[in-house]
């Protein structure tokens, strides 16, 4: 299928480019680390408080670094007008969205996995009790952020004031993802059974699917000239 082929090609291309330049992952990592450090100045929590607020801090740090990483990742396609080259490909432009989304999710999750221990050390968290659940939360939450984030990075690339437009559009719309991911993470950190979080998992999965499909269908309008 043309769509899958183009998406896969773009995904592999992004992996190759990232392996070479590492500019997306370094920007996410450095920024995320800085935010983690800044948070330790803002709060000096006891172990118990830390478990309560760490979910929120973690996802705020992920959100901010994601915004940075997403616009860097899309800048790769606008340099040398490559996006026009992609649009010449014999597939619906939605394929470009899917490929970009896949590589964005991968880079973000990888960066988050590296950032987690930093938070664990700074806030004395025991993050690794249930690694499977932790990874699932990271994946679903990040996919949610990236689904709209990839879309809006393409939207804001068309505007003056790109740096402003991406967060302005992304933040209000991703509130449900943030709430759900934070709740899941808090339940995990507090050591409560994960069945408490089933509502939030449903919300995350629903959000991810709805917006991935919608953005995929609408992407051709974003790149149309």
């Amino acid at each position: 299928m043309d769509t899958l082929r183009v998406a896969a090609a773009l995904f592999r291309k992004d992996l190759l480019a990232e392996r070479r330049t590492k500019d997306v992952s370094t920007s996410i990592l450095l920024f995320g680390f800085t935010v983690a450090v800044a948070f330790t100045f803002a709060f000096e929590p006891t172990a118990e408080e830390a478990r309560k607020i760490a979910g929120g801090l973690l996802w705020l740090a992920f959100l901010f670094s994601a915004i940075l990483g997403l616009s860097r990742a899309f800048a790769r396609e606008t340099a040398n007008d490559c996006l026009r080259g992609l649009r010449m490909a014999p597939a619906d432009p939605g394929a470009i969205y899917l490929g970009k989304l896949a590589s964005n999710v991968l880079f973000l999750v990888l960066a988050e996995v590296v950032l987690l221990p930093v938070f664990g050390i700074f806030f004395n968290l025991s993050l690794w009790d249930r690694p499977g659940w932790l990874f699932l939360i990271l994946l679903l939450g990040t996919w949610g952020l990236a689904s709209l984030g990839t879309m809006f990075s393409a939207v804001s690339a068309n505007t003056r004031m790109q740096e402003l437009m991406l967060p302005l559009l992304l933040l209000p719309l991703t509130v449900p993802v943030l709430i759900a991911a934070i709740e899941c993470t808090t339940i995990l950190l507090e050591g409560r059974p994960m069945t408490d979080a089933h509502l939030w998992f449903r919300l995350l999965v629903g959000f991810d699917i709805i917006f991935t499909v919608l953005c995929w269908l609408l992407f051709s309008y974003v790149v149309e000239e």
Partner: protein
């Protein structure tokens, strides 16, 4: 000025005025005082402006959604004009909701703001459409602007029920800061007449505003087309 020569605008304005007078008459004089609200009598009447404004603003955002889809399907730029007009009017009414809400909550609940699902969703709705309008400012070319705005108009509206659900679930898991009785709980049927009357009046007012805003887009397009012909 301009609207004086426009019979439809005059009609809308007149009808809106008459219905609003009737609506507020019912709201202020006929509707009974809720027993629990007797203490805060006049403030309680803010509700008759607050709830209809919320309806109107929501209707405005729904119009943005429908017009955005229609634009993408038909590529008729007039749908885009309708979308931007409805978005702006929706934001104005949403601002009214956000202003009147806390003014009501402070004397009644004792606090300005609470993060309950309805309040939070309204605030986020406001931010989403503010973003929509900002986006339009920063895209210069009309065709591009219409496309990008339509995409955001659709995504934003689909997001609203999810935001609402997320906030409701969130709140049910956390202790409520106040006894948020909920505005619509046990509303006296006679109160509905006031609410509906004001809603009808505000709806016509909003229609007038949308119409004037739409006319603005129309004139702007006319000006650009003329300038294009003249090659100035």
């Amino acid at each position: 000025m301009n609207s004086a020569r426009d019979p439809v605008a005059v009609l809308l304005a007149g009808l809106s005025f008459i219905i609003l007078v009737v609506g507020f008459h019912y709201s202020f004089l006929r509707a009974p005082t809720e027993a629990s609200m007797a203490m805060v009598e006049p403030v309680q009447r803010i509700f008759y402006l607050h709830l209809p404004s919320a309806f109107v603003s929501f209707l405005g955002f729904f119009t943005v959604f429908v017009a955005s889809i229609a634009y993408l399907m038909t590529r008729n730029i007039r749908w885009d004009w309708l979308a931007v007009s409805a978005a702006e009017v929706g934001v104005v009414f949403c601002a009214a909701v956000l202003i009147t809400g806390p003014l009501w909550a402070k004397p009644v609940w004792g606090i300005w703001w609470t993060w309950d699902a309805r309040l939070t969703t309204t605030l986020i709705l406001f931010l989403i459409y503010l973003g929509y309008l900002m986006l339009r400012v920063y895209v210069i070319e009309a065709h591009r602007r219409a496309l990008l705005a339509a995409v955001v108009g659709i995504l934003g509206f689909v997001d609203v029920p999810i935001v609402y659900m997320a906030n409701r679930w969130w709140r049910t898991q956390h202790p409520q800061p106040v006894i948020a009785g909920g505005e619509s709980s046990g509303l006296d049927p006679r109160m509905w007449w006031g609410v509906l009357g004001v809603f009808a009046g505000l709806f016509l007012l909003a229609a007038l505003l949308v119409r004037q805003r739409y006319r603005l887009e129309e004139m702007r397009a006319e000006l650009i087309a003329l300038e294009r012909e003249a090659r100035v």
